[in-house]
Symmetry: C2
Subunit: 237 residues, 2 copies
DNA sequence: AAGTGGTCTAGACCACTTC
DNA sequence: AAGTGGTCTAGACCACTTC
């Protein structure tokens, strides 16, 4: 990958995250960065716009690019990230248990969610996520068999996303997400350590490839006390 | 505002939302659009990249810009949007009641959230949102007095964001958001029609101006059955 | 081979901030 | 007046898709 603006972006992210450039200070100007990285101004601007979009800097006209404080929000549940990637950043011991990995004829509900025809089969993966010995999250994943021909328990207990991207070279591109709060089902009570909680948080995820085909539907069901969602948003004027 | 790429962006959004260009069809190529709008390709690309970022299109190399289906997700709770703007798009009757609009010495908790000194005062606004006659949302807003010198009950029952942006010309720029689920407080029980629900969804919002100053802290407390959060996310490779 | 989008360049003019 | 970021241009070369 010879992608200049991404290299510059990553370089500056590293500088911010390592504390090499400090919060509330200004980055070098676009003109200085242009000279420093031996490139054109538009390429620098591409890197800086990415930094702004991800909440690292705030660009202020006439002044420069201000590094903004992001310390207490560095827990990126927002966006598209797999549980494995997330767990790597978390405190406490974390374990994934795959209860069921099987190729099934989809229920009408799943068939509708994944927009399948009557002949399509899906991989169903039922997993729980244990944090510090408690079953906190129930993940139900459904994958279009035409796109994911094979899945195993081993893969499901490691990282399915890693397998899809690195082994199958499936380019995961975007997702639509919906968060609601509902009463626990019998299944939730069976698989989770609910300890008297009266609600579960349900995150429905519809995941698409780069060619815009829908290939995965996921329900991630969380015990409410352990659920936290953070987001960084820019206002559209 | 003579902003070519935003005009092109809005023009294409209108075409998509009115159904003039249909889902699963390709937009004209960048080269065709360049001629059509009499501009340069980079300007067209700026407009198309905005469309991609907001989930209207998926760009596919070698093929074109595919209009993607967004119908069932056109309820934009995600991002930065005020309740008034949201209510305008919602079904059912909606009413805002301001219970308290006053200039106070902040509690230690609020002082910490807004990073205030001991001498700063804040405007406190306590509002409930009624949907179809039920009190569903309790909003607690705190504004830095130095930035918002004056607030009234009338403004609070209309749209504070509209007042801040159009009257005070405050450029609202970005926000950090946190969603959790907690047990109702006595205050929640007093102000909301909880009807036996055991949890409330709490959305904490830290709102910043264009010069990156923090000026507002909000807690929006929702009855769980009426809460829904939708999001469109692109994966970072 | 022709058409598509992705990256990069060197330059221009402008609005805003600082001094 | 000098420095900052925001927008726009016209052109180049490349990777991928289609035929």
């Amino acid at each position: 990958m010879t992608n200049k603006y991404l290299k510059i972006f990553n370089d500056i992210v590293d500088q911010i995250e390592s504390g090499e450039v400090s919060t509330n200070s200004l980055l070098p100007s676009e003109n200085e960065l242009r000279i420093q990285y031996d490139t054109s101004r538009e390429t620098i601007r591409k890197a800086l716009n990415l930094l702004a979009q991800k909440g690292y800097i705030q660009k202020i006209r006439g002044k420069g690019s201000l590094v903004i404080e992001n310390g207490k929000f560095n827990f990126p549940v927002s966006g598209l990230i797999s549980f494995k990637e997330l767990a790597d950043k978390m405190e406490g011991s974390v374990r994934t248990i795959a209860h069921d990995v099987s190729l099934i004829k989809p229920t009408p509900y799943i068939q509708k969610q994944l927009q399948l025809t009557n002949k399509d089969l899906v991989w169903q993966v039922i997993r729980t996520r244990e944090i510090n010995g408690k079953k906190i999250i129930l993940d139900k994943d459904y994958f279009h068999q035409k796109i994911v021909p094979e899945l195993t328990k081993e893969i499901s207990e490691d990282s399915i996303y890693h397998y899809l991207e690195k082994e199958l070279n499936l380019p995961i591109s975007f997702a639509k997400k919906e968060v609601t709060v509902v009463e626990p089902t019998a299944e939730d009570r069976q698989f989770l350590d609910l300890e008297g909680f009266y609600n579960v948080v349900v995150i429905r995820n519809y995941v698409y490839l780069e060619d815009a085909t829908l290939f995965q539907y996921t329900e991630s069901r969380h015990r409410p006390d352990k659920f936290k969602f953070v987001d960084f948003a820019r206002r559209n004027h």
